[in-house]
Amino acid sequence: MVEVAVFAVAAAACLVGAIGVVLSRNPVHAALMLVMTLFGIAVLFVAQQAHFIAAVQVIVYAGAIVVLFLFVIMLLGVDRAAELSMGALPAQRWTAAAFGLGGAAVLIWLVAAVDRLFKGAKSLALETAGLTDAGAGSDPTDYVADVSALARSLFSDYVYAFELTSLLLIVAVIGTVILARRSGYGGSQHNGNASEAAKAETSSEAGQ
């Protein structure tokens, strides 16, 4: 029963946060709603024995990505960022409604199909192995010690992908630095004003 309660609370937090991200006018509120969704998902990860992934989720998403979002919102100015949120075009809104309803129908139909598959597999597994645990297909005890298993799979089966992700991160960092520098040159008017103001300040200080 505790598991059901945990799932219900975390799922409600996820859904409310997701809807809040889509509907909120203020980008800061949207970012905070995103934090709520991400924490709910981290709780669901813990409920599924993915403790390490839950920790990484909290650190990377709530600690890095959302903070980055908030930095950018504050950098642009909250008012200016809020001004950007205009109403959707009518055609866009209809397309989105069709996408949402159709996609939800298709995905939930797919999940129902997978559910039937699971039930078939479960009865098969119960027949063959005599498993009583309904949740896990294999023995859950050797799955719980997952950090070492995760590390083993990450550094053996997926080692090339792992190295490629490090390359990807370096490329992303360098690209962002170059983007920021170029935009700094492009926004020279603002910088010029700032340097003018600084010059005026220093001259006034010299005058004193």
Binding site: A18, A30, F45, Q57, I65, L68, G137, S138, L150
Partner: protein, 104 residues
């Protein structure tokens, strides 16, 4: 247990709903920052499905894939926000519609 247990399908339905909400928000909203947040929602829905399958089959590969998705999402957000800042500095009132000017 009175018959009510958390089964994998619940997680899958929740992941599907998060994906759909994120996709709908991506289509509806025109603030580029919120669009990036909606992409994060979609990625998280997929992550939830991966973890649910990993738990269901007792297979750790699902968790490995989720780690990669996290890394790629971080890189995507860094580059995306860099682009947003660069565009909004050049033209402060730009929404996603105005970016069609980039077609040249």
């Amino acid at each position: 247990m009175n018959g009510l247990e958390v089964v994998t399908s619940w997680y899958l339905v929740l992941g599907a709903l998060l994906f759909i909400i994120g996709g709908t928000g991506l289509l509806v909203r025109r603030n580029p920052l919120i669009m990036l947040m909606c992409v994060e929602l979609m990625l998280n829905g997929v992550n939830l499905s991966f973890i649910a399958f990993a738990d269901r089959f007792g297979d750790v590969h699902g968790q490995t894939v989720v780690l990669f998705v996290l890394v790629v999402a971080a890189a995507e957000v860094v580059v995306g926000l860099g682009l947003v800042v660069a565009v909004l500095r050049a033209s402060p009132r730009a929404t996603a519609d105005d970016l069609s000017a980039l077609k040249g």
